[in-house]
Each structure stands twice: as C-alpha cells, then as structure tokens.
Amino acid sequence: MYSWVQRLNSILTAAGTVLGVMSLCVALSSLFLDVSEREVMNASSFQKLYKLTSLDTNNDQALMYLNIDFDLSPLFHWNTKQCFIYITASYDTDEDRHSGIVIWDKIVRYNEPKNFSSVVFNKYPLIDMGDNLRGRELTFTLSWETTPFVGLMYGQRSSTNFTHTLPDKYSKLTVLERSARNRLNTEYPDY
C-alpha cells in the first residue's frame, strides 16, 4: 500500500475475485430459476404439404409449410442470454430405424420479442436416406436450448406436439421439373 500503483493493483485484483464469485452465484441461481417444459406456450400445427418428391439420388424429399406459434417468455430469467429453438420431424422406418431431421430453427435473444407466430417453410429440407417417406407419419417436436450469460448449457428441453401423415404417392412434378429431370437422364448416360 506504499504507492498508488500498488494500491491500484490490489484493488483491481480484489474486484476481479469478487466478480468471479458473483458470476458463480449467478450461475447457481439459474438452477433455481429454470422452469419446466410445460410452461412454454406452444400452439403450432401443420399447415400444408408443398411437395413430396424423389431426388436424383433416389432419396425422398418432403417440403412443407408449418404454422408456428410459441411464446418463450417463461424461459427468460436474468441469466438467459438467448434461446435456440428448433423443430424436428421424426419418424420410424421399415428397417427399424428412427430418423429425426431438423427442418426449422431460430435464435431468440434476450432483447428481442420472445413470441413468434407465423407460417414458415422448410429452412432445411427433409431428405430421407432411402425412399421411406411415402405414407409415413411424421411427428413434429419443438425443442429448445438456452444459452446462459454465466454457467453451463445443460441441454435441451422439448414439448411434443403435432403429427402429420404424408401421402402415399409422390407429388406431381411441374413441367419445368420434369423437363429438367429428362435432360439430366439423357446427358449422363451409363458408361
């Protein structure tokens, strides 16, 4: 304490230590402030199938419109920085395989409005490894992960909701898509 430089050093290191302890207390407080999954309002539903086609690689692809409506306000206490919310379409296939594909996601930050109500299209296409999507029943699940300011990200929560059954046949291709497919088939013949 004999010079101002030494006093400045001591004060700033003490402040740093106290900041560390305060951050630890903030992280511990978020254990008591997190809510269960039931309190998140979720009223989403299936809107319309856009098309169900077979790709050139013989994989199935489904594109659709979804009616998304959720409210994440109970999730945001003082230690949540942002919430990553995503929709998974899951189904069982004939070969004892359970597939889940993320088709839409969004980041909701602490200083943005926390409710969302709109019709969305596939952000990421639903592509199956194979041709198992005809007549398949899809289960759409809304899941989220919260990022804290201080603390651990301990994983997702989810609330299951709506299902939808895909049609038994592929959608009809438009004239442009059919001509493009024919062109591809004739340009690359087998060796």
């Binding site: 304490m1 004999y2 010079s3 101002w4 006093r7 400045l8 001591s10 004060i11 003490a14 402040a15 106290v18 900041l19 302890v21 305060m22 207390c25 903030v26 407080s29 206490h77 003082w78 230690n79 300011f149 201080v150």
Partner: protein, 97 residues
C-alpha cells in the same frame, strides 16, 4: 542549496493511512458485490445492471483509495535530515590483509 533535492521518500501515505485505505477497499468491494448481486437478482432482474452497479461502486472506491489524499497522511513519518557534508568511511586494516 543542496537540501532542495530530496532523494529520500516523498510525502505519500503513512502507515495508519494505508491501513485505513486497505480496510475501506476490502469491505467496500465485498459489500458492493453483495448489494449488486441482490439488486440484480431481486429488483431489476437484469444481469447487466448488476455489473453496472458493481462498476460504479468500484469507481468510487478507486477514487477514494488510490490517490494520496492528505487524509491518509495525518501522522507523517519523520525522516532524518539530509547531511550537508558527504559521509566518508575509513576502511580499517584487518588482521588478514
């Protein structure tokens, strides 16, 4: 005159002043940490306000404790006078030289 150049210690803080400054900042930082945490947790529900309050009280404590205020120098140390003549030493002959 030759006494105008002081090569010894300048007038800063005395020992009682240093002890006072140390107790001020130690208890002040801990109390400000507790108050900032409780304010952010209960009243404002905002983590940024916790850091702002802690930073504000920390700035006040820095202004109080870091500079050499005369309050901390109420019992100044008395140093010896600087001698006018240079001090010379005589190296005495020892038995082994």
């Amino acid at each position: 005159t030759s006494t105008s150049t002081r090569r010894g210690k300048k007038k800063k803080m005395d020992y009682q002043g240093q002890e006072l400054a140390e107790t001020i900042y130690q208890y002040g930082i801990i109390i400000s940490g507790i108050i900032a945490f409780l304010y952010g947790l209960l009243i404002s529900k905002d983590i940024l306000s916790m850091f702002y309050i802690f930073g504000a009280v920390l700035s006040i404590i820095l202004i109080i404790c870091v500079p050499n205020w005369p309050i901390f120098n109420r019992h100044p140390l008395k140093w010896l006078e600087r001698p006018l003549q240079p001090i010379t030493f005589e190296i005495s002959k020892s038995k082994f030289s």
